[in-house]
C-alpha cells in the first residue's frame, strides 16, 4: 500500500517538474519584462539542457561503478558510439553532400528523417510526428549500438579486476575514438570531421506558419528523455537484478556462492549501462548540435566520474543533484571569473580567461578531500528525507555539506 502511494507521489512530482520546465521555458514570451534569467537565451537553459543530458550519463555510470562495483572508464566511448549512430542515421539526405563534402557524399543512403517524412509528410503535424519518430528511433539505435558493442567487448574485459578493468575500458574508448577518426571509414563517419545538420533539441520548438516559435520545448525534450531513462534505471536497481548487482558490489565471492552468475550479471549491468550511455551520447550530440570523435576523450569520462563521486557513489539522486551543481558551476555561476572585471577603475586581480576552471578544480579538490562521500553518500533523496530536512533545518541551508556523514 505504502509503495503505491510513493509511486503515485513520485509520478506526480515528475509530471510537476516537467510542467515547471515547460513553464520556465515559455514564461518570458508570455509575460514580458521578466529578468534576463528567464529569457530563452539565458544560460539557465543551457545548464538545464546539459544537466539533463549529463545526469543520464552520470546515472548510467553510477549503475556500473556505484551499484555493480565495476570500475569502468569507458563512458566516453559508449557516448561516442551513441552520438555517431544517432548522427549518421538522422542527417537529412539534403544535407548529406554538404556534411560529407570531403568524401563525396555519404555511404549511408538513407536518413531516418526522410524515411519518416515520406510516411507522415514534412510539414505541420506530420512533420512534427516524423521528427519525433526519427529522433526516437535514432536514439534507440544509438543505445542499441552502444549496448551491442558493450556485449562484444564485455567477454574479454569483464574478467579483469578493478584497475585493470578501468584501464582496459579506457583503452577501448580510445581505440573507438581512433576508429571513428579513421579516414578510410570517412563515407560513414565523415572521417574525423564533424557530423552536423541532424535534428537537435531546438527543432522540437513548435513554430507557426511564419516560422515563429509558439511553444518552446527544447529544454523539455532532454528532460523528458533523461527522466524516462533514469526512471528505467531506478526500476532496474530496485528490482531483483538490481539487488543482485549490489550483492556483487558488496562481495563477489558471496554473490557467486549464492547462485548469482558473476559474468551474466556483470555483463547485464555493463550492457544496460552502455545502452543508456549510448542514449546519453545521442542526447549530447543533440545538445551540442554536432558529433565529433574529438570531443569524447578520457577527460569527458573523468568529468562524469567526478560528477558521480561528487553526487555520491551508489546514489541516483546524488548523481542527478551532482550533475546540475557541476554543470551550473562550470557553465554559469563561475563564468564571471573568466571575464576581466573592473570595479570603477580598479582591475580585479587574477580574473581572466581560465581562472574559472582553476577555481572550479580547487572546489572539486575540496569536495573530494573533505566530503569524500559526496553530497548524498549512498543514500537516496526520499520523501521522508525531505520532510525531515525541512523540519529539522532551516530550509535556507542547502549546501553540499548539508548531509555529510
Amino acid at each position: 500500500m505504502r509503495k503505491t502511494k510513493h509511486t503515485g507521489r513520485s509520478l506526480l512530482a515528475v509530471a510537476g517538474l516537467l510542467l515547471v520546465i515547460i513553464l520556465l521555458e515559455n514564461i518570458s514570451s508570455w509575460i514580458p519584462g521578466l529578468p534576463a534569467v528567464f529569457a530563452p537565451t539565458s544560460q539557465l537553459f543551457t545548464v538545464l539542457k546539459k544537466g539533463a543530458v549529463y545526469s543520464l550519463v552520470a546515472v548510467s555510470m553510477n549503475l556500473l561503478n556505484g551499484f555493480t562495483g565495476l570500475f569502468s572508464l569507458g563512458q566516453a566511448g559508449f557516448m561516442l558510439l551513441g552520438a555517431y549512430t544517432y548522427a549518421i542515421l538522422t542527417v537529412p539526405m539534403a544535407s548529406k553532400d554538404q556534411v560529407y563534402y570531403l568524401f563525396g557524399g555519404s555511404a549511408v543512403k538513407f536518413s531516418l528523417v526522410d524515411l519518416f517524412q515520406s510516411l507522415f509528410g514534412n510539414t505541420g503535424f506530420g512533420g512534427y510526428l516524423s521528427l519525433i519518430c526519427a529522433v526516437l528511433v535514432g536514439i534507440l539505435f544509438a543505445g542499441l549500438v552502444a549496448a551491442l558493442f558493450a556485449a562484444l567487448i564485455g567477454t574479454p574485459v569483464l574478467r579483469l579486476k578493478s584497475d585493470y578493468l578501468a584501464i582496459a575500458t579506457l583503452g577501448f574508448a580510445e581505440i573507438l575514438r581512433a576508429i571513428f577518426q579513421w579516414q578510410t571509414l570517412g563515407p560513414i563517419t565523415n572521417g574525423a570531421n564533424m557530423l552536423k545538420s541532424f535534428p537537435t533539441f531546438a527543432d522540437f520548438n513548435i513554430r507557426n506558419g511564419a516560422g515563429q516559435v509558439v511553444l518552446r520545448l527544447s529544454t523539455f525534450v532532454p528532460f523528458l528523455a533523461a527522466i524516462i531513462c533514469i526512471a528505467l534505471i531506478v526500476l532496474l536497481i530496485h528490482s531483483s537484478y538490481g539487488r543482485a548487482f549490489k550483492a556483487i558490489r558488496d562481495d563477489e565471492v558471496a554473490a557467486e556462492a549464492m547462485g548469482i552468475s558473476l559474468f551474466k550479471h556483470k555483463m547485464l549491468s555493463f550492457v544496460i549501462s552502455s545502452f543508456f550511455s549510448g542514449v546519453g551520447g545521442a542526447l549530447f550530440a543533440m545538445y551540442v548540435a554536432n558529433a565529433q570523435a574529438k570531443a569524447f576523450t578520457s577527460t569527458m569520462t573523468y568529468e562524469i566520474l567526478l560528477i558521480v563521486v561528487i553526487g555520491g557513489i551508489g546514489s541516483i539522486s546524488g548523481s542527478v543533484i551532482g550533475t546540475f551543481l557541476y554543470v551550473a558551476c562550470s557553465e554559469w555561476w563561475l563564468r564571471f571569473l573568466d571575464a576581466e572585471t573592473y570595479i570603477g577603475s580598479f582591475k580585479v586581480p587574477l580574473l581572466r580567461s581560465g581562472f574559472r576552471m582553476v577555481v572550479f578544480s580547487v572546489v572539486i579538490m575540496i569536495i573530494v578531500l573533505f566530503f569524500s562521500k559526496g553530497i548524498m553518500g549512498d543514500k537516496e533523496l526520499s520523501w521522508a528525507g525531505i520532510g525531515g530536512l525541512l523540519k529539522k533545518r532551516r530550509p535556507k541551508k542547502k549546501t553540499p555539506a548539508g548531509k555529510e556523514g
Binding site: R159, D163, I175, T184, A192, V253, L305, L306, S361, V362
Partner: protein, 301 residues
C-alpha cells in the same frame, strides 16, 4: 613505398622509437612504484611531468641552464611530495576509489592552472646545447638526445634497482608493497616510504620531461596527459608494480608507436598510433590479466 624501406629511414624510426620508449620508461617507473605501494593509479603523474616541463621553460628564462636544471628537479620533486601530502595522505583510510578521484582532481587542477598561466598556448622548451647537437648514425641524422636517452635510462634504472635492493629505504619499500598493513605493524614509517616513492617518481619524471621536451619542444597544458596515459599503459603492460616490466613495456610501446606513425601515409593508419598502444594492452590483459611480469594475486575465500 620503396623509399620507406631505406636503411636510413628504418634506422631513424627505430632510433626515435627507442628514445621515446626511454622517455616513457622514466615516467612509467613513477606510476608503477606508486601503484606497487599504494595501489593507486596516480593520474596526476603525467601532469607533474608537464609541470616539470613548464618549470623548465620559466626557470631557464631567468637562470643559466646549469643552475636551472637542478632547481627544476628540486621544485618538481617538491611538487610531487606536496601532492602526496595534500591530496593522497588525508585519504589513506578512504576507499581506493576516493584516492583515485583525488588523483584525477589534482590532474584537473594542474592542467587548469597551467592553462591559466600559459593561456593554453604551447610554450617552447629551451634548447639544451648538450642534448640538441646533431649526430649521424647509419646515415640517419638525429639529435644527441636520442642517443643519450636509452643510456641514461639504463643508468638510472641500475641506480634505482640498487637503491631498492640494497638500501634500508629500498627494503622498506619492498616490504610495504608486499603487505601494507603488516609493514606498518612492523614499525616501518609508512609515510616516509610513500613520500620517498613520490620523490623518486617525480625525480625520474623531471629527467623524462627534460629528455622528452627536448625532443618534442612544445608544452601545452595537456602535454602530459597522453604520455602519462601511455606510460601507465606501459606499466600495466609490464605488470604493474614491476620496474623492469614497466621499462620493457615502455620501450615496446615507444617503438611500436613510432613504427605505426612511420608506415606509408597511403595506409591511413597513423591515427591508430595511440590506439594501438591500448589494443596491445587489451590483448596482453586478456591473455595474461596481470601483465607480463605481474604477480598473480589469489583472493582468499
Amino acid at each position: 613505398m620503396e623509399q620507406l624501406l631505406s636503411a636510413e629511414y628504418i634506422v631513424s624510426i627505430l632510433l626515435s622509437g627507442i628514445s621515446l620508449g626511454g622517455q616513457l620508461a622514466l615516467i612509467a617507473i613513477g606510476y608503477t612504484m606508486v601503484y606497487g605501494i599504494l595501489r593507486l593509479i596516480n593520474f596526476a603523474h603525467g601532469d607533474v611531468f608537464m609541470v616539470a616541463g613548464l618549470l623548465g621553460i620559466y626557470i631557464s628564462a631567468a637562470l643559466p641552464m646549469y643552475i636551472a636544471i637542478p632547481v627544476v628537479i628540486a621544485l618538481t620533486i617538491g611538487l610531487g611530495f606536496f601532492i602526496e601530502r595534500a591530496a593522497y595522505k588525508p585519504l589513506r583510510e578512504a576507499p581506493r576509489m576516493s584516492v583515485m578521484i583525488s588523483a584525477i582532481g589534482v590532474s584537473y587542477l594542474l592542467q587548469n592552472t597551467a592553462t591559466y598561466i600559459t593561456g593554453g598556448q604551447p610554450m617552447t622548451y629551451p634548447a639544451i646545447d648538450a642534448l640538441t647537437r646533431t649526430v649521424s648514425i647509419a646515415g640517419a641524422s638525429t639529435k644527441l638526445v636520442v642517443i643519450i636517452t636509452p643510456i641514461l635510462v639504463v643508468v638510472l634504472i641500475v641506480l634505482l634497482t640498487t637503491l631498492i635492493n640494497h638500501t634500508k629505504i629500498g627494503m622498506a619499500m619492498r616490504a610495504v608493497s608486499k603487505d601494507f598493513e603488516t609493514s606498518r605493524l612492523m614499525g616501518i614509517k609508512i609515510n616516509n616510504v610513500i613520500s620517498m616513492t613520490f620523490v623518486i617518481g617525480s625525480g625520474l619524471a623531471v629527467v623524462g620531461s627534460i629528455l622528452y621536451f627536448t625532443t618534442y619542444p612544445a608544452i601545452t597544458p595537456t602535454a602530459g596527459a597522453m604520455p602519462g596515459l601511455k606510460s601507465f599503459v606501459a606499466a600495466v603492460f609490464g605488470g604493474i608494480g614491476s620496474i623492469p616490466g614497466a621499462v620493457i613495456g615502455a620501450f615496446l610501446i615507444g617503438i611500436c608507436e613510432t613504427i605505426i606513425k612511420g608506415l606509408p601515409s597511403s595506409w591511413n593508419v597513423s591515427v591508430f598510433s595511440d590506439a594501438f598502444t591500448f589494443a596491445l594492452l587489451i590483448v596482453i590483459l586478456t591473455c595474461k590479466p596481470t601483465g607480463l611480469f605481474g604477480e598473480k594475486a589469489t583472493d582468499k575465500v
